[in-house]
Symmetry: C2
DNA sequence: TTATTTGCAAATACTTTGCATGTGC
DNA sequence: GCACATGCAAAGTATTTGCAAATAA
């Protein structure tokens, strides 16, 4: 896998993610792409989602249920996840955390938990440890 | 399911989570508990992990890979996740985010992404929407 | 006693992969 | 033409569940 080809499937998949506003799962994308490409397979969607993540064109969101969600908004921003239905809303990053959660509480959310998570590579992996995801 | 019984399995499982310092997965717990209870099944571990979460005795961590991790430290704190090996380290919450990530970078981590996530219930679910996880 | 919990195995949900065929360059 | 991508189906992981047997209260 060296040269990357521009396939119709990949292009339509990226268009659909960029068009969506609700952090779709792979299956969501599969369902919307199927309207244009009825013979596309779920495997192809997963393969292309993975390629797009590795090319830095979309982000994978791990929190919020068992299914991975994807986001074409690459700007630094965060998320509010509903522990009941899995809904993921966007969250700006510039204000103080407490102020932000109060804003959501005024909108009718009940915030159970605020999470700050950093993703990166630990010293062990960086200096030649085990391989990754 | 109304009355809760105190079983040996459940007690040993909770002890193992409390004893651990590394945010174990269900399988990790299964493996350590098996040293004391060789005939325990993975299903029993999953069932008890779920009970303990619902009783508020442990927390489930969704980020950091496909497997759920668990944490018996109920104090408000956050996590640093290695995208390569899935390792999850603890993170205090009192300082500014940037200061905190600089601290980790001094320890040899390369931080790719800081995430702020709020978990709660959205207005739709709160006023009688769909059921949840 | 008896309703809950267990162990086991089968089922489910999400994701990945092997392989023959198709296709961009 | 040929290496990479696709569609399909099967396999792989993580988790949940049905059920008969075991067990805490």
């Amino acid at each position: 896998m060296v040269l990357r080809r521009e396939t119709k499937q990949k292009r339509v998949i990226l268009e659909e993610i960029e068009k969506s506003t609700n952090h779709p799962t792979a299956r969501d994308i599969y369902n919307s792409v199927r309207q244009q490409l009825p013979r596309i397979s779920l495997g192809t969607v997963y393969r292309n989602m993975d390629l797009l993540v590795r090319e830095g064109k979309i982000k994978r969101l791990d929190s919020g249920g068992r299914e991975a969600h994807f986001d074409a908004d690459l700007s630094e921003h965060h998320h509010v996840t509903c522990v009941s239905c899995g809904r993921i809303d966007d969250l700006a990053t510039s204000q103080e955390l407490k102020v932000i959660s109060e804003t959501f509480e005024q909108k009718g959310w009940v915030i159970h938990e605020r999470r700050v998570e950093f993703l990166g590579v630990c010293p062990v992996c960086r200096t030649g440890g085990a391989g990754g995801r």
